[in-house]
Symmetry: C2
Subunit: 299 residues, 2 copies
């Protein structure tokens, strides 16, 4: 989504990050089921038809959508607006989509500081909104120069430890999102993100499975979700060929195997739409919701 | 194992590899089960007690071990010796462990050519021995300078396509092995290796799950094997804390979750010991075999 690249340009200084060596993670047992899984659908702000946030929320409520995923850009100034719009509704803020500036695997320490500081700001605002977390990408391909492996991972994990601690204190989380290699080579697989969560071992750090990116990077949706296990904090949804509404790509839009994985790990978080549409929104959106509910039942 | 780093020093010229852009892989459905899984145990040459290959094979036969995994170093000159030693026995060559020179993600094209040529030689010898494949690591951390992502993956996949075609013609395969980040940052996860196999889409390319490396990199043994699915060509076995014989690390040596994954994907390949021992080989080896058979039954 374009909003992810509309980085806040503000530069704020934070403490210097000490570099430490790679250490192998502690070995934890496979994730136990969290309980009975449920399909809690959420929309980004652009998904529902409507000319205002309230119109969109009315539409969502009629469809039984229970989550709203606002962008992180300028979020601190929107807290009151969003709180007012959600008042008395059966919709909560799900997660906050990115909006940070800089990036955590930047070669330039100043860019990393920008990311730390802007992430803290968004986490704080997201916390006021009761969000489960803020979605973060460690570095897009276009963000250069970036650190290379294994240094990139070392520096990233130091920063994630700090952010997870901060997020935990605010009852929210940083949600690591693997993307496909066309967008971000550094983090592409759920198992990789989950291993970072295992290392940090804090409720302040979770990971995200996005069916769009998973289509290109994962060989098994179910295997990927089982690997994410208890670290899975969020799911993004889109059609599998063009990132449109689920169903717009016909038979390719089969999520049953992935839903089986979500049920198996007892996932109770949100499944949130991040996609465009090639059709009329008034038709494609309800059709997508219907399709997902049917597939969830079959899974 | 040390043998992996005893690279043949020979330099051989092969055709220049053209560089091509990254393309997203074709989307294939989740791997179907291959049939009923079975635990086919194999040993590297150093595992069994014995002063000669024949003594070791006698010992292995008594334990019901059905595979022998020789190193790839100097293999062409050992074909006859190994064939003679296996004659009339219920043991086959499982896979060939590395032994190649150069590496496929080297910056220096000459190092890549070395790897291509030496891999072809080992595949040819391994084919004469009826091996299921030759284990290959795209690049160890110590092999520098290496290409960085995403260029490293592009160049690697071009070469793997050539090697897979060559291996297929020889009824064998290149087996990609993910290692832990302390040894090789480039390829660490089964899902990542499996996605490369999906892209090449040839029986000449499979991947390997090594419980030792998986302990450190994967968050779920079962999830990882489900992701590997039909691309899984081989499994390596060791204790989970010190890379000794399974059981030597006590309760940490639990493979049941992984074995469940192998059963689920109908894995019928080898599970081959690649490990040392801290104890007396005559005691630790049979104890490990017993433990694995018990855990396989429980899975």
């Amino acid at each position: 989504m374009d909003s992810r690249r509309n980085f806040i340009k503000k530069v704020v200084a934070v403490g210097t990050l000490a570099s430490a060596g790679v250490s192998l993670p502690s070995i934890l047992p496979a994730a136990p089921p969290k309980g009975k899984a449920s399909l809690n659908l959420s929309f980004q702000e652009g998904i529902a038809p409507g000319n205002s946030l309230n119109e969109k929320l009315d539409y969502m409520e009629n469809l039984g959508i229970v989550g709203l995923e606002p962008g992180g850009g300028n979020l601190a100034k929107r807290v009151n607006e969003i709180q007012q719009a959600l008042k008395g509704r059966n919709i909560k803020v799900s997660a906050i989509c990115a909006g940070f500036s800089g990036w955590l695997i930047a070669e330039d320490p100043e860019k990393r500081k920008q990311c730390m500081e802007s992430t803290r700001e968004i986490l704080t605002a997201g916390s006021e909104l009761g969000s489960v977390g803020m979605i973060l990408v460690p570095g897009f391909n276009g963000q250069q120069p970036s650190l290379q492996m294994p240094k990139a991972r070392e520096i990233l994990l130091e920063q994630l430890a700090e952010l997870a601690e901060f997020a935990k204190k605010h009852n929210t989380a940083v949600i690591l999102e693997p993307l496909n290699r066309g967008e971000a080579w550094f983090l592409r697989l759920l198992a990789d993100a989950a291993a970072m969560c295992r290392e940090i071992n804090s409720p302040g750090l979770t990971c995200l499975g996005d069916f769009w990116h998973m289509t290109h990077e994962e060989t098994s949706d179910r295997g990927a979700f089982i690997s994410a296990g208890k670290y899975l904090g969020y799911v993004h949804m889109a059609s599998r060929k063009r990132r449109s509404m689920p169903g717009e790509d016909g038979e390719a839009d089969n999520y049953i195997d992935g839903f089986k994985g979500l049920k198996e790990i007892g996932y109770q978080g949100y499944v949130s739409f991040e996609c465009g549409t090639k059709g009329k929104r008034e038709e494609t959106v309800p059709a997508a919701v219907k399709l997902l509910r049917e597939q969830w039942k079959k899974a």
